[in-house]
């Protein structure tokens, strides 16, 4: 197992804030919009440097999505910022008609996704947003795993032409990816090569997958860990290549098991190479109040549950071989 260490921890939303500032410096067409959550979205530095390129919309997310769509006409590259719940479910039809169907170059940037929003509870903990966004034709869907990756992804989507949903979060988590990485949209990242089981993880679950890989290695299980940061378009080639080697799959995400990364991978496998798969995801329920750590444990989104899923799916693989 390749060794991953970290010296610092930060929230992924701060990576977005840093990326937005840099994107703004690189391209004067980049503009930012926010619906009364500047601090939460870490947009302060951008606003300080480019006050004329920032639009405070107030608590009116539907209006924000429409304004963002309109701002692209004339060449602006709008980045909208609010919580993931208000970035997707609340404004689904605005995104569908004015952004996705109209193919507008809007970057929908969503913080506080998933259970790790914590104490605010289920009203704010959206677990359905990946599904909502990936169902929209032409929408790119990205869920980043640490500060560095989020910053790199923010810079990458500024250069990409087309609507994007960028999902990140609130909690402080280890920084373990390369600070100078080049983020390639749609290209999976090989975290650790292995032969026994493929673990495909996205967002905050990538670090948990690394911890799980270390536990599995101690027990002699050689896990391949792949970070799928871009859920759509999915790197199907990377998925199939890995599965051809390992023959079984665990998917790990901070999302409802319905409609998330796991389902995207299952669809590729069902068509090209049916393979035993276990989901580490929220089991079709809402969240609740609690600390991020408590919630991730209660809902089974941690290293321990990835380990259990890996062992289970390996057993299913062996049984399938025996029955043949």
């Amino acid at each position: 197992m390749k060794k991953y260490t970290y010296t610092d921890k930060k929230d992924t939303r701060s990576g977005f804030g840093a990326g937005l500032l840099e994107a703004g410096r690189k391209n004067d067409q980049v503009v930012a919009l926010c619906a009364d959550l500047i601090g939460s979205l870490k947009m302060n530095d951008f606003i300080k440097e480019f006050p004329e390129r920032f639009v405070q919309v107030g608590i009116a997310e539907a209006n924000m999505m429409g304004i963002a769509a309109g701002m692209t006409i004339g060449g602006k590259i709008p980045f909208t910022g609010t919580f993931a719940n208000f970035s997707t479910g609340r404004v689904y039809d605005q995104i569908r008609q004015s952004i996705a169907y109209s193919n507008k170059n809007v970057k929908i940037c969503a913080s506080h996704a998933g259970l790790t929003l914590g104490e605010d509870g289920a009203t704010h903990q959206i677990l359905e947003d990946i599904g909502l966004m990936k169902m929209l034709p032409g929408m790119t869907v990205i869920n980043t795993c640490d500060y560095n990756q989020t910053k790199a992804a923010t810079l990458a989507i500024a250069e990409y032409e087309g609507p994007v949903y960028l999902r990140f979060g609130r909690p402080v988590v280890p920084i373990f990816t390369d600070p100078d990485q080049k983020f390639e949209i749609g290209k999976a990242w090989m975290v650790n090569e292995g032969a026994d089981v493929s673990i495909f993880a996205t967002g905050h679950l990538v670090w948990q997958a690394i911890l799980a890989g270390e536990i599995l290695a101690e027990e002699g299980i050689d896990a391949e860990i792949i970070n799928i940061h871009t859920i759509k378009p999915l790197d199907a080639e990377a998925v199939l290549k890995s599965v051809a080697k390992t023959g079984c799959v665990v998917t790990a995400e901070e999302h409802n098991r319905l409609g998330g990364l796991g389902d995207s991978i299952a669809q590729v496998l069902a068509v090209h190479n049916p393979t035993p798969q276990e989901y580490v995801a929220v089991n079709d329920s809402f969240g609740e109040s609690g600390t991020p750590e408590q919630l991730m444990t209660k809902y089974g989104l941690d290293a321990e549950h990835i380990v259990l899923a890996a062992k289970k799916v390996m057993k299913r693989k062996q049984n399938a071989v025996i029955s043949i």
Partner: protein, 281 residues
């Protein structure tokens, strides 16, 4: 040189013929609101707006129009065709399989003249505000126009946008509401009262004008007046009083022709009331 009122009225008559023929040909679509707004479209595209039919999505240096109540697409398509955005013959494909003239306007089929999809109501004002903000950022002095239905004002997003534009001094925006008092289920006053629209928009901080939407001279005059009042710190709202179905006597003033196509006999009756001025497509 700008066309005379009489010339504009002739163009409007042809557009009205196109509308009923298009809706009849596919036996679907929305003739009522289209006929009511024909004078507005004609004035806008043939007299008031500075625009280029060699369509460019970014519209740098030219005025932009957004149709928020996308269901009145027949009048939009016919106007664009007569203004030179695409061939008039293409109007015959309206709502048919593989057409660029979708039931509701879309950018998806790359029809020149369309800059945003609309149909799901209440979204166009926000989009127009966005385009107007970009014009300001780009130092582009041209204007943004929008049209909305009165029933559409029942959508909440309209009022989010209504609050935003004056606060941010979006004064390069001229919005118009087609006040015909009708919506699918009946008169707006029975479905959900809009109340005193003039007072409402004024209270939100807009510069509010009123016009007789089926009086070409008044439409041109009021739109020009609106243009002269841009750049003064306030967005402009024109309450345009029209009659749904204007120009065809059996369609006038009734919500029943909101989304119903005429049959063969009704088509002939309607065409008998609308002079063919520029040649049918």
């Amino acid at each position: 040189m700008k066309p005379t009122i009489q010339e504009l009225e002739k163009t409007a008559s042809q557009i009205r013929r196109d509308i009923v023929r298009m809706v009849h040909a596919c036996q679907s679509g929305h003739p009522g609101g289209s006929l009511g707004c024909t004078d507005y479209f004609t004035a806008l595209y043939f007299s008031v707006m500075n625009h280029d039919p060699k369509f460019n999505m970014d519209a740098v240096g030219e005025d932009i129009f957004f149709l928020s109540n996308g269901h009145i697409s027949p009048v939009f398509y016919s106007t664009l065709a007569h203004a030179g955005y695409f061939e008039k013959a293409e109007l015959a494909t309206f709502r048919k399989l593989n057409t660029r003239l979708q039931g509701h306007p879309t950018t998806h089929e790359h029809l020149p003249g369309i800059r945003i999809a609309s149909g799901s109501l209440g979204q166009g004002l926000s989009v127009a505000i966005g385009a107007a903000l970009t014009k300001k950022l780009n130092g582009d002095k041209s204007l943004v126009f929008t049209l909305h239905g009165d029933g559409e004002l029942q959508e909440g997003q309209i009022w989010e946008a209504a609050m935003f534009a004056p606060h941010n001094k979006v004064d390069n925006l001229i919005s118009t509401i087609d006040v015909n008092g009708q919506q699918i289920d009946g008169p707006t006053n029975l479905v959900l009262s809009l109340g005193d629209l003039h007072a409402k928009w004024k209270a939100f901080g807009w510069d509010v004008l009123e016009m007789k939407g089926n009086d070409m001279a008044d439409v041109v005059k009021t739109l020009e007046l609106a243009k002269s009042r841009t750049g003064q710190g306030k967005p402009i709202m024109i309450l345009m009083h029209t009659e749904m179905g204007y120009g065809v006597d059996f369609m006038v003033g009734s919500h029943k022709w909101h989304g119903v196509a005429p049959n063969d006999e009704q088509l002939q009756l309607a065409l008998g009331q609308l002079e063919e001025t520029l040649g049918d497509y």
